[in-house]
Amino acid sequence: MIISVASGKGGTGKTLVATSLAFSLKSRQPVQLLDCDVEEPNDHIFLKPVISQKEAVCIPVPKVDEAKCTHCGLCAEICAYNALAVLPDRVMVFPELCHGCGACSYLCPEKAISEEGREIGVVEWGDADGIDFVQGRINVGEAMAPPAIRQVRERANADGLVIIDVPPGTSCPVVEAIKGSHFCLLVTEPTPFGLNDLVLAVETVRELGIPLAVVLNRAGGEYNKVEEYCREENIPILLTIPLETRIARLYSRGVTLAEGMPETQELFILLWDEIRKILDEGTGSLKR
């Protein structure tokens, strides 16, 4: 069972919900947490895993054997990303533009191109006091998050409960992190920005055909349009976390809510029960 925790807008509390859910459930069942926010992974700050293994994230980029190359220009012609330029006497490769599709090496008539791994980041895993922990991290200056996210996702343990912390936004890294989940929790806050980005996130998750529900964080102000929207769209709000200085302070120190305020663990266990109920009944908000 894979549950992803996403949001659209950044800073709404994805990390808080993902880590607290994992923390609350770990004594009842095996839990795995995948931090797929490979640009800015934060779960390790809260769960303090002991990293036992790591592997590099590499994308295949072309390597040209100049001894075999006839400078025919086919590779530059077929590359959709302009990652190769063929000059009369040599081939220039721009690895940071390469998406690693493999077309050039397969189609080169002289078999002069091989694929060489270029390291763009790392995937690490280990134990976080009973939570099976995996995270990805791209190197500073690297642009492409999806290959690292794919590699984190490959480590998902299909038998148990897997919780995925998703990066913010609605574009390709988000899709890469969410797709194939059984359920998606969207964390938002009761502000105009929170609502605007929730609507976009709902569209994205529905596009992927994944049932979803909302967690409302920092609740308690007068702004009630998020609740109105959820009612109209028939989206259940499964958990409401109040706006409290105490919670913000815990978070600032790198302590997750379920650990710093153990009485809240029950709420996260209930949240998980609700998700299971929705999945059993098949009533997850799939309405379009």
Binding site: G10, E39, S171, C172, V175, P192, D197, L200, Y223, R253
Partner: protein, 288 residues
């Protein structure tokens, strides 16, 4: 003409609220929203759209089911696992065109992809270039580059002194696209361990692309010890902390009213800090 981009690494630290206020304070500028997959700046600036353009980017493969003999070559060679049951999943397809070239019966064509829209708008505070990436689309970096290019052309036409852009969260492709070649980056952080971790990474990206950075600590009084850690870190790195903005609910109140906070309550401590911040930035931009 000088270009300032506002970034944070971590989402939800207050980038957009600060950009909204800088928009109200700065004279003679063009505004750009470079967060193209969860844009929020328009909620503060109430733009009137003058021009709407389509953003066509990349291609998606389409298999003609009548011609396809289901030989199995394309799913075997696709590096993005985008072909399942001899249909292309447009979300996974990266548009490389490898499958089209290797299909023995020419059953595959490449179709141009409408990835989003971009807009030129008027606001009370000056012109705004913004965009909307389609749901679950790729190429956010290219759309960001387009937004910046439009903003630059407009600034040159008008002889504007500044471009102020609201950047996306993270450190990957759209961030690199909004940062490279800008004159200065304002990094908005918060005194949480996650905020500090993410600040270090985004500062690394600024270094990588040789863009000078200033730091602003938002909600500094949520955890003053962490705020001191950020100040110490910035001192070590030779980066100026240009403002310490206190936590105040008026920021949310202003957002609910759809106004920049300096407009909503110009005398509040938050607004006074932001005004000083802008004076500092404007002076620095004029000097460098």
């Amino acid at each position: 003409m000088k270009e300032l981009v506002v970034l944070s690494g971590k989402g939800g630290t207050g980038k957009t609220s600060i950009v909204g206020s800088l928009a109200a304070l700065a004279e003679d500028k063009v505004l750009a929203d470079c967060d193209v997959d969860a844009a929020d700046l328009h909620l503060l600036l109430e733009p009137v759209v003058r021009q709407k353009q389509e953003f066509w980017s990349g291609q998606v493969a389409v298999i003609d089911q009548e011609k396809c003999t289901q030989c199995g070559l394309c799913p075997e060679l696709c590096h993005f696992e985008a072909i399942k049951d001899f249909r292309v999943d447009p979300v996974s397809c990266e548009g490389c065109g490898f499958c089209r070239r290797i299909c023995p019966v020419e059953a595959i064509t490449m179709k141009e992809n409408l990835s989003g829209h971009w807009f030129v708008s008027d606001t009370e505070y000056g012109p705004l270039v913004h965009a909307r990436l389609g749901i679950a689309q790729e190429n956010s970096g290219k759309l960001v580059a387009l937004v910046r290019q439009q903003a630059r052309e407009m600034a040159e036409e008008r002889g504007a002194a500044f471009i102020i852009s609201d950047g996306p969260p993270g450190i990957g492709c759209p961030v690199i696209s909004s940062l490279s070649g800008a004159h200065m980056a304002l990094l908005v952080t918060e005194p949480t361990l996650s905020g500090i971790h993410d600040l270090e990474r985004v500062l690394g990206v600024c270094r990588h692309f040789n863009v000078p950075a200033l730091v602003c600590i938002n909600k500094y009084d949520i955890n003053e010890e962490n705020s001191r850690r950020i100040e110490d870190y910035c001192r070590e790195q030779g980066v100026e902390v240009a403002a310490r903005i206190p936590f105040d609910n008026i920021v949310t109140e202003a957002m609910v009213k759809g106004q920049p906070v300096v407009q909503y309550n110009g005398d509040s401590p938050v607004s006074r800090q932001i005004k000083r911040l802008w004076q500092n930035i404007a002076g620095r931009l004029a000097a460098n």
